[in-house]
């Protein structure tokens, strides 16, 4: 495929009119038609039925379009990055992060961003999924890293990054900390401490209630640091991602009998112009090898006991 062929194809898809597409691309109509024919020869079939006012895209055209569009957009962003690399004057990055996401996970990527775009500002919003979703819609944030947003808006583009498993955060003085994994019923008598609107704690309490306990005590702490402090002070059992790095006097144990895993995605909004900073960060997030984070057991053994 050649870059201009794909560009012409996208223009015809948009206009469904070869003459208008040619105008839009600033080429003659025969040149545009020839390019589309070459693409058709490569892809092995017609991409459009040419019927003057009723020109329409074929099944083959429809099938290949998403791939070609993504490849084309990637090409534009690759070129834009090469042109603006190490230059100043980039708009700030507005990011939304789920509260459970450790900034340290992102710091290698943000280091690349701050080197590539000197002086770029990063503004981070942390909040519950629903707020992240609303801010994405309104354009207050351009990219979010979070679990499910609980909103099926068709313009959200979500790409899987890694699976996050939550566990029970305990002080090492807590008797349960001596267990490798905690059976769910053992948590019945514990007070739960979690981040606000924590979906996983919701799942956990629902499961505990199904065991017959009507009253589950749950306290929300606005920040992870608060959670650590409260657990240390023996106010209860925290609910946090198992891969999280925590001080040595605390530990995170797997909870058995309930599924506390969720996929973390990178979210953007389809069809919006994206700054080159955002486009680059999305590519870095997608290209990154997240397997070390997903394998929580490995991380747990790395931690000094």
């Amino acid at each position: 495929m050649e870059l201009h062929q794909v560009r012409y194809l996208l223009a015809v898809c948009e206009t469904l009119n070869f003459t208008r597409a040619a105008e839009q691309c600033h080429v003659s109509q025969p040149a545009l038609s020839r390019a589309i024919q070459q693409l058709e020869a490569e892809l092995g079939g017609e991409l459009f039925r040419r019927e003057r006012r009723l020109t329409h895209i074929t099944d083959l055209g429809r099938a290949v379009l998403p791939a070609l569009r993504q490849c084309y957009e990637s090409s534009l962003s690759a070129r834009a990055l090469a042109r603006s690399y190490l230059k100043e004057g980039h708009p700030p990055l507005h990011l939304g992060l789920a509260r459970s996401i450790e900034m340290e996970l992102l710091s290698p990527l943000l280091t690349e961003i701050s080197t590539a775009f000197p002086g770029i500002e990063v503004r981070v919003f942390r909040g519950p999924p629903v707020d992240i979703g609303e801010k994405l819609k309104s354009g207050d944030i351009e990219l979010a890293i979070a679990g499910p947003l609980g909103d099926e808006w068709e313009r959200f583009e979500a790409r899987k990054l890694f699976e996050e498993q939550f566990g029970a955060l305990l002080s090492r003085r807590h008797p349960l900390s001596r267990l490798n994994a905690i059976q769910l019923p053992l948590l019945l008598t514990e007070r739960l401490l979690c981040l606000p609107h924590c979906e996983m704690t919701g799942r956990l309490t629902a499961q505990l209630q199904s065991l017959g306990e009507r009253k589950i005590t749950k306290h929300e702490a606005p920040m992870v640091d608060d959670l650590l402090g409260l657990v240390r002070a023996n106010f209860g059992v925290g609910i946090l991602p198992m891969a999280r790095r925590i001080p040595d006097d605390l530990c995170i144990r797997e909870v058995e009998g309930v599924d506390l895993r969720r996929w973390i995605h990178v979210f953007t909004v389809a069809g919006r112009p994206r700054s080159i900073g955002v486009a680059t960060l999305v590519k870095l997030l997608r290209a990154k090898d997240w397997s070390a984070i997903t394998r929580t057991e490995d991380r747990a053994t790395e931690r000094p006991q």
Partner: protein, 233 residues
């Protein structure tokens, strides 16, 4: 009888061909013969695809000798962004597009490139590989080749398209590849089934192409002796 996928059946052959004491072209040919022997119908699908790409002269418009090489900034296998302009400040760059860590021809080629790294370095130059794969697989590719060169991720084949080197795998080949054990979607983090035409460029410190090898027949690669020759002139 347990049925082995073509990918599994080719593993031993790939190792054997890599170690052959013969020019790269011969090693690649030996593998192509193995494929034909193991799975005639797969080989025929490949022939049909290659014929079609040759007919439309795919890759013909890629940068030619004397052209400026369009700049790239791509992440390496550790996630660090690498710019062609910055590499060229240190000397000539051998840029080689590979299909991925799963492709036996690419594995043979990457292994051969790793073999000439000392000579390339001695000539003041550097090799970089470019694949559409994410870091988990670029790092596997690198260690499998026992290479110290960078393996860069060209996500969604955007840079390949800029160089007129991206192709879309049509359904017949996609099904044949999936059956053979090569489902590339997970490697590329997309469902696009796009691949680069394997190509190698020797880019001089001035940023222009000194030598190029582009062949829509992915079983053929630039001979490593030709790369060294281009660096010496």
């Amino acid at each position: 009888m347990t049925t082995q996928s073509l990918a599994q059946a080719l593993e031993a052959a790939t190792q054997r061909c890599r170690q052959m004491d013969a020019p790269l072209t011969k090693r690649l040919n030996a593998l192509a013969n193995e494929v034909r022997h193991l799975d005639q119908s797969f080989a025929e699908v490949v022939d049909r695809m290659v014929n079609r790409l040759q007919q439309i002269e795919a890759g013909k418009s890629a940068p030619s000798v004397g052209d400026p090489m369009p700049l790239f900034v791509l992440p390496d296998e550790t996630g660090r962004l690498v710019g062609l302009a910055q590499l060229l400040e240190r000397g000539p760059v051998v840029m080689s597009f590979h299909r991925g860590h799963w492709c036996p021809y690419c594995r043979i080629s990457a292994h051969a490139l790793a073999g000439i790294e000392p000579e390339v370095r001695a000539a003041g130059a550097e090799i970089v590989l470019i694949t559409p794969e994410v870091q988990k697989f670029t790092s596997e590719f690198k260690s499998d080749a026992r290479a110290s060169f960078l393996v860069l991720t060209d996500l969604d084949s955007g840079y390949a398209l800029e160089l007129q080197l991206a192709i879309k795998i049509e359904d017949e080949k996609r099904l044949a590849m999936t059956r053979a054990g090569w489902d590339i979607s997970a490697f590329q983090d997309n469902e696009n089934w796009t691949l680069p035409i394997p190509a190698t460029f020797v880019v001089g410190s001035d940023g222009s192409v000194k030598a190029r090898f582009v062949d829509p027949d992915y079983r053929k690669r630039m001979d490593v002796d030709d790369i060294l020759g281009a660096l010496r002139t």
